[in-house]
Every structure is written in structure tokens, then in C-alpha cells.
Amino acid sequence: MSSKADWKTILEPVNPDSNEPLFFTKHEWDTVEAIAARIIPTDHDPGAKEARAVVFIDRYLSGISYIFASADGSGFLEIDGKHAHSWRARISDLQKVYREGLLVVDEVSMSTYSKKFVALDNESQDAVLVKVSGQPKPGAVNLGTTEPATTFFQFVSDDGLPFWPAICLHVKQGFYADPVYGGNKNHMGWKVIGFDGPENLKDTMDGTYTTADKFTGDYNWGELIPVLANQSDFPVPVKSEGMYN
């Protein structure tokens, strides 16, 4: 068995324009694409359909070859040893969750509209998804309010998620993950929200990609921290010299 430190790089970045499923049937593929288009809809900006979230999800569910991109984004890591066992089990569970979940979507669609989900208009599709999710359609987030919450676990994995929260998470990932995974085509998702992300993962490894311009350029430590003037033990800097100037 090889250590995670020695996993080989295999394959190439996923082609977002592929229409060949590795896991889904043709009908499942079309249904996932239609659901994705309701989770992040197309408006004056592209949505999850254009960003190819369906390709992202299909590759993820196809086995354990597309789990971790190599650091530089040139391909994918060949998972080995105990991690291969656990990821196979994880993906196998998710495959079942998707297969069963997609059947439910069509069942609800057939029983309500006597048509498969992919044949419905947007409004009817949303009505089906409201039934599948068991909750009202999320409303807009408004300014001018305070909305308390309680503490929650912030690191989002998909272990144990039922179909609806799983596909919502995966569509969001397919919209915003690095394009190596097959979604976020041409950084489409990032452009929608104004995230100036890296051109590719390699650029994050060597200093090419920088966010230095998102820091405050015009500042003076003595003004930001008035107490500095009241002490004489240490020198008072004006600015931080170095990499961010």
C-alpha cells in the first residue's frame, strides 16, 4: 500500500463539454441536469446547467478516480490503501442515494403532473422539488434584519446526507469548485459572484495567483492602533513592509 504522500497522478482534467455519462443513465443525466438548473437557475448570468454541474456530479459518482485533483490540477490522485476502501464505500452509498432519489423525483412528478420531471416547465419542476425537499422554497435574504442561529459544524462533508441536501451541495460544488473537476466551466460560477479565483491550481502553488489587491493599501498602523503611541517599549511601525506592498 502506498502512503497518501506517494499517490500517483492519473487521468486529465475533466472535459466539461462531455455528454458521455460514466455513472448516470441517459435519463438520470438529463434529470440531474434539469434539477441543477432549478438549484442554481440561469438568469442574466449563467447557472448550474451552463457551468456543467451534471458533468461534475457524474464524475464524482463514477468511482474513486475523480475524488482528489492533483495539487497542480494536471490530473487526479490515484487513491490507495485504506482510503480507497473508505472512498469506495462512500461513493457506493451516494450512488444508491442518487439512484433512489431520482426515482422519487420522477414518482412525485408523475403522480402530480403525469409527466417525468424533465418534461415539466420551471414552475412545476420547482413544485416537485418543494415536495421532494419537504420544505418551502427558500425565500430571499433581506438586509435590515438580525437573524440568530445556533452553533453548527462548519466543515461540510456529504457523509450520510439524504438525496435532496446532497444534490444541493453537489450542484453548489459543481458551480464553484475548481474547473478541473468538470464543473464551473470557464470559471463561470466564480464570475457570477465576483470571485477572482486562480486561472488554475498550479498558479496557487508558486505565487502567480495573488489577492494582494484585496487588502487595504492606504493605512497607517499608528492610526489604526492608537495605544501604540502610549507605549515606549517597542518601535511603532507605519506600514507592514514586504510581500503585500
Binding site: 485533483a69 430571499a140 435574504v141 442561529a149 466543515f155 484585496k214 487588502f215 501604540l228
Partner: protein, 556 residues
């Protein structure tokens, strides 16, 4: 059964090579001792394995423990069956939590070492003083700041106790949201300053801090900016020629000899072979959850309840520091972007709410700091719509118009809050996993409420037009901060370790992580832990292994 493979005995074997194991490895190997370090995870290389891949590092657990392989379980009371839950899942690899951490490294305060003297008995809590004081630790805090690399501005925190030296590096410039925090604090008379950061912005000790990507909290850093023991102390230990690192080595037992001393440890290597490594001194630095678990698993006729556990206190009095916060949103149509996703996670904080003010309805206090709202997939946004036009609209509107102010909850120790061995759930090795039993104290809930409300006030002063306060309900273990499971003290009946983190029961067993912390402190604990690991490693090299002993007196 004794394993057949027995490499040559060494002076010291260290189990777990994170912040504290890395510190011990450096100090002891530089003192000329022969040291072997065993790490259950891999040895990833920052320049080869790390990049800004949000999906891989934040969602798919590339660097985090796989909860299918090494689960943990949690329950709130004795009568419940614990459920699997990824509670405080610190990365398990060479460098440990210093691989992924944001790297807040504030100094502790004098009050942190004497909570019981200050407050007496608090109902339901097991407050005790530490067996030493801030002054004992100060020289070591300075050593860690300079050797490991910490950036900050000396004199900027008016509440900081004595420091003997400034910092070796300037902090990063303020982010846009950091600037909002400073401006609001100055309007409110709050002393804001750059939270000391385990990173350098200069060429200190030959480092090249080129990473300006903002992929920081939970990501590995491919550059030399972040202070990570895997790129600092551990290579320095290897360079002495006295330190051997063995990764993918899972220690399952500390072995006790007939004389009651530890003889060494048994570990399982990557191919499943069992190996016994003997040593004159055994050091545990697995983190307070896994160190306690290993001690409890190391049962023998002399220690049927686990090694070094004659007090019955191993695993008890566990504290975990929940991270609480409030989010503030600005108006995209009116306000300039604050770029909540940019910066190396923290930028500006305060210690003004740290010391007890009983008018607030609780004792103690916490560090407060402005921080990132993170990247697109995992934007920190409680109430983010799950799907539909509302999701797209709110992401488009708030992604660059959000900021966060958080705090590290200084939770009180309670004897019933503890780590023990789960009777049902096993890890991939077939060994019982750590079970957490934890219920928040009323003081914890009250502190969280007051401090989160204060964060909302600061956000409103900063111009936020919507706020989302996140209060404490129960601990979710959302930090990697773990303490108290083998508390230090002078009385062997009331503590597991002495003032050098040396077992009262087993004189050559030392536990040099947060396990020894009698109380949690309200600051991020790693600087205090590393300084303490250094202090105790000095004792091992200068006293214990020279056959000498020194005892501290009970501080007044």
C-alpha cells in the same frame, strides 16, 4: 504478545508529530538525545501536495481524518448512546493541525493560570489553578515566537502581560474587512490590534512567504509563510542527525515494564506489521482526545484502567473551545466591497473582553477577532438559501460584501465532560474510538451570548446592514482545541501529570500536548502548548535524563 520486530532502543520516542511533538523533537534532538518520532498519518510536503483547491481541502477531507476510518462519537449525558460525529477532528499527519490552521497565536494572560484563586468554586465546574504561572512560561513563549515564526506588533495589545522581545515579523496589512473592524473598534474605544499570527511576511530564518492566495484556513500552504512544524521544527530536528521520523505508524499501546516504568510503545506500520520501539522516555503528543484514548487503551495488570490513571482522571475535565461568531452583510448597491473571502483568515482582534466582569453574568472571557467568511462553496453564511433564485441572488449579492467577527469560547472544565473508549464503535484497526461526553456549562452559554452580542454591536458600528449572530447551544467540536484530559497538578490524587507534564504514576511518561491544561484559557491554545512542550522538553533533557529532579513550589 510482544512484537517480533524491535528496532534499537532510543532515548526518547514521541507519539504524534504535530505542533507539540514537533517542538519536543526539535528541542530534544538539538540537546543531543536520540529521538524517534511516530506519526500515524502521512508526511505530506507543502511544496508538492498543497494548493488552493477548496473542494479537496475543505469538503473532501484530503487533509482531515476520514470519519469512516477513524470515527468519534458524542453524547450529552451518561445515559445516552453516543452517536458517530466528527468532533474536533484535528488533521492527523506530520505537522498535525499546523498544516491547516489559521494560526492565531495570542499569548495567554496571567489570570488563565489562576482561575480558582480568582473565583473560588463555581457550581458544576472543576476549576483549579495551574501548577505554574505566566512568568514561568514567558521565556518559552518568546522562544516559540522567534524559532517557529510569529508575526505581530509588540505593544499593540495594551492588555498583554510582560513580553521580553517583540515579534520577528510584521503582520499582513489589514484586509478591507479588517479595516472596518479597526475603524469600528476605534469609534467604540476598543483596543484593536493584529492578532499574533503563526506566519511570517519576511525572510525570517530563510523562509519565502510568497503565498498571497487567501487560500488559508483549512488549506495547506505551499509557501514558507505559514508556520507549520512539518516545514520548520521537524526539518530542524532531522538536520541534527539525532531524529528519525516514521510516518504511517499507528501506536496502539504504551507498554509498561515490571518496574512500573514505560518500556516503549507498540505500533502498526503501513503494511500491518507490529513493531515495538523501546525508549528511556515516552512522550505523548497526539492531542488531548487521542492521547487520552491511547492511555486508556494501554491497560496492564499494574494499570487495569489505563496507564498513568491511578487517579481515575484520565480523559476527564475535557475542554474544547467552541468557535462562535456573528456575520455582517453590507449593501452591494451602496457599500464598497469588503472581500470577506480575502486575507489569511484573521485581521484585527481584541482582548478587551477577556478579563472577568461579573456584571456580564459570567466569569472569564474570550479573545475576539475579525475573520474571513471563506470561499464560494463553503461561505460562512448561516441561513444561506439551500437552492433556487434565492441562493443565486444571495451569493451574488453578499459574497464580496460579508465579514465575520468571532470568538474562542473559554469553556469551564467539568469532571463529567470527558473522553473515554466507546464500547461499540471501532476504528479501521478494530480499536475502540474516543467517545466524547460533553454538556455545556451555564457559564459557557452566558459568555457566548454576551460576546456574540458584542460582535453584533461592532458589526453594526462598522456599517453592517444585516447581522447573523451564532450562539452556543451545545459544543459541536468545531475547533481543534482540546485540553484537560490529563490535568497537571501537584497532588497525584487530583491530577494525572505534575508541573512538567510528567505522569505521577509512570515517571518516564510525559504528555506534552493540551491534555495537561487544568483549564482551557480563552485564547487559541497552540502557542501556550508549544511553549509548555518546550519547557517540559528542557526538563527532560536537563533534569530527568540526567537523573536529576527539580520541583516547583505551589505558586501563590
Amino acid at each position: 504478545m510482544t512484537p517480533k520486530i524491535k528496532p534499537a532502543p532510543v532515548d526518547v520516542v514521541i507519539v504524534g508529530l504535530g505542533a507539540n511533538g514537533g517542538t519536543a523533537a526539535k528541542v530534544l534532538s538539538e540537546a543531543g538525545l536520540k529521538v524517534v518520532g511516530l506519526e500515524r498519518g502521512p508526511w505530506l510536503k507543502n511544496d508538492k501536495h498543497y494548493s488552493g483547491d477548496e473542494l479537496k481541502f475543505v469538503n473532501r477531507n484530503y487533509m482531515w481524518p476520514d470519519s469512516k476510518l477513524t470515527p468519534r462519537t458524542v453524547r450529552r449525558s451518561e445515559t445516552e448512546v453516543a452517536e458517530p460525529y466528527p468532533f474536533s477532528m484535528t488533521p492527523q499527519l506530520v505537522g498535525g493541525g499546523t498544516n491547516h490552521w489559521a494560526g492565531w497565536v495570542p499569548r495567554p494572560r496571567e489570570s488563565d493560570f489562576m482561575l480558582r484563586s480568582l473565583h473560588g468554586d463555581i457550581d458544576g465546574a472543576s476549576l483549579v489553578d495551574w501548577p505554574f504561572r505566566y512568568d514561568h512560561l514567558e521565556p518559552y513563549l518568546t522562544k516559540v515566537e522567534w524559532e517557529f515564526g510569529v508575526s505581530g506588533i509588540a505593544g499593540a495589545d495594551k492588555t498583554e502581560p510582560f513580553r521580553s522581545k517583540p515579534y520577528p515579523s510584521m503582520p499582513l496589512p489589514p484586509t478591507r474587512w479588517g479595516k472596518k473592524f479597526y475603524d469600528a473598534c476605534n469609534k467604540m474605544g476598543i483596543n484593536a490590534f493584529p492578532i499574533p499570527h503563526a506566519s511570517v511576511t519576511n525572510g525570517h530564518k530563510g523562509r519565502n512567504p510568497f503565498n498571497r492566495t487567501s487560500f488559508w484556513n483549512q488549506y495547506g500552504d505551499p509557501s514558507g509563510a505559514r508556520s507549520n512544524t512539518a516545514t520548520t521544527f521537524i526539518p530542524e530536528a532531522i538536520a541534527t542527525g539525532n531524529f528519525e521520523l516514521r510516518s504511517e505508524a499507528f501506536v496502539r499501546e504504551v507498554v509498561v515494564g515490571k518496574d512500573g516504568k514505560a518500556t516503549g510503545v507498540i505500533y502498526v506500520d503501513e503494511d500491518g506489521a507490529e513493531i515495538q520501539q523501546d525508549a528511556k522516555v515516552v512522550i505523548l503528543t497526539l492531542g488531548a482526545i487521542e492521547s487520552a484514548r491511547l492511555m486508556l487503551m494501554s491497560k496492564s495488570s499494574k494499570f487495569p484502567e489505563g496507564i498513568a490513571n491511578s487517579s481515575g482522571l484520565v480523559g476527564k475535565n475535557a475542554t474544547f473551545h467552541e468557535y462562535l461568531f456573528a456575520i455582517g452583510f453590507f449593501d452591494k448597491d451602496i457599500d464598497d466591497p469588503v472581500y470577506g473571502w480575502a486575507g489569511n483568515y484573521i485581521s484585527g482582534g481584541t482582548m478587551d473582553f477577556y478579563e472577568t466582569d461579573e456584571s456580564r453574568g459570567y466569569i472569564g472571557g474570550s479573545i475576539t477577532a475579525a475573520s474571513q467568511t471563506c470561499h464560494p462553496i463553503n461561505m460562512v453564511f448561516p441561513g444561506r438559501p439551500l437552492w433556487g433564485q434565492a441562493l443565486k441572488d444571495s451569493d451574488r449579492t453578499f459574497f464580496s460584501h460579508a465579514m465575520k467577527i468571532g470568538l474562542i469560547l473559554h469553556d469551564l472544565p467539568q469532571e463529567s465532560n470527558r473522553v473515554d473508549l466507546d464500547p461499540n464503535v471501532k476504528d479501521y484497526m478494530g480499536l475502540p474510538v474516543a467517545r466524547i461526553t460533553h454538556k455545556a456549562h451555564a457559564n459557557d452559554v452566558a459568555m457566548g451570548k454576551w460576546q456574540v452580542d458584542k460582535n453584533v454591536e461592532i458589526l453594526e458600528m462598522a456599517g453592517a446592514r444585516k447581522t447573523i449572530p451564532v450562539y452556543l447551544d451545545q459544543m459541536t467540536g468545531n475547533t481543534c482545541h482540546q485540553h484537560g484530559t490529563a490535568r497537571m497538578g501537584f497532588d497525584p490524587a487530583k491530577s494525572v501529570l505534575n508541573e512538567w507534564c510528567q505522569s505521577h504514576d509512570v515517571e518516564n511518561l510525559f504528555v506534552l500536548d493540551g491534555s495537561g491544561f487544568p483549564t482551557a484559557t480563552g485564547v487559541n491554545p497552540t502557542l501556550t502548548m508549544m511553549a509548555n512542550a518546550w519547557r517540559c522538553s528542557d526538563y527532560i533533557a536537563d533534569y530527568y535524563l540526567k537523573g536529576r529532579e527539580m520541583r516547583l513550589e505551589q505558586p501563590k
